[in-house]
Symmetry: C2
Subunit: 143 residues, 2 copies
Amino acid sequence: MDELNVGLLLFIPYRAMEARVFAALADEGFDDFTPAQARVMQRIGPEGTRMTELAEAAQVTKQTASFLVDQLERSGYVTRTPDPSDARARLVRIADRGRAAQPVAAAAVAEVESEWRAHLGVRDWERLRGALSSLREITDPYR
Amino acid sequence: MDELNVGLLLFIPYRAMEARVFAALADEGFDDFTPAQARVMQRIGPEGTRMTELAEAAQVTKQTASFLVDQLERSGYVTRTPDPSDARARLVRIADRGRAAQPVAAAAVAEVESEWRAHLGVRDWERLRGALSSLREITDPYR
DNA sequence: TCAAGTTAGTTCGAGATGCTGACCATCGTC
DNA sequence: GACGATGGTCAGCATCTCGAACTAACTTGA
């Protein structure tokens, strides 16, 4: 059955990647860390990012983003700091534990990517990355 | 920022596809239908599929699959019939309402795919499909 | 300059999702 | 026919997500 729709074809490897990365994180002691939290955390910029921006980027409501950031903050992955330019807003920043988790996650991603690259061949792998990046232009509402 | 990891690059268009398809279904009156249900329902074969197989294919526990099939059955999308070859097992089959929903979903998928094809160009689009199908060989635990 | 509308973020309550554990019925095997 | 394996369900709990309603701070216009 190769007539699976592209939605499912995208979802299957996504799911596989997620499982591998979270297994690796759990192995290294980052066992209190969920996919939902990761989807928000991945969108935090180096200078910190506002709740509202985070919510838009992750495509969840402000409430959900707030809830997930609560958890991330309690676990020490991020901190909330006041935004100097707007007293209503707060900048979410990566905290020490978050910075410690990043290389673990990055290593797991790199491992999976290299397996995929080996399976597809370098040329097709680069094309896949290129096509997905291009698709992002019309499917990522955030940018 | 094009250094997004491939997991996120897969997830973003997946999410976009999902949103479009569910909006189309809701427009046509299939408003009681959730992504989780769809992930199970997509794996039902033409001759019906067992709960256990469904659970494996959708990568959820038997319990979760059972729960989702309950809902699908209550909404009239599927039926459970006895498996003639094993009295313990039950075959989940697409029911009338499920069959009615399929063309609506298929049309929405086709529309999104044609937009993506137009954005990428036919050649790259076919390569993307091919790469994703190939990736499925090593990332779909079911098959 | 200050009232009115907008924007950033939170709290609350509820439904959806998905897990583990415990269980029953049936199958296959020895 | 007894016993372990398999197909499936029920119960209980944690997580994810949303809509509604709210507070505080910003912006705009007369």
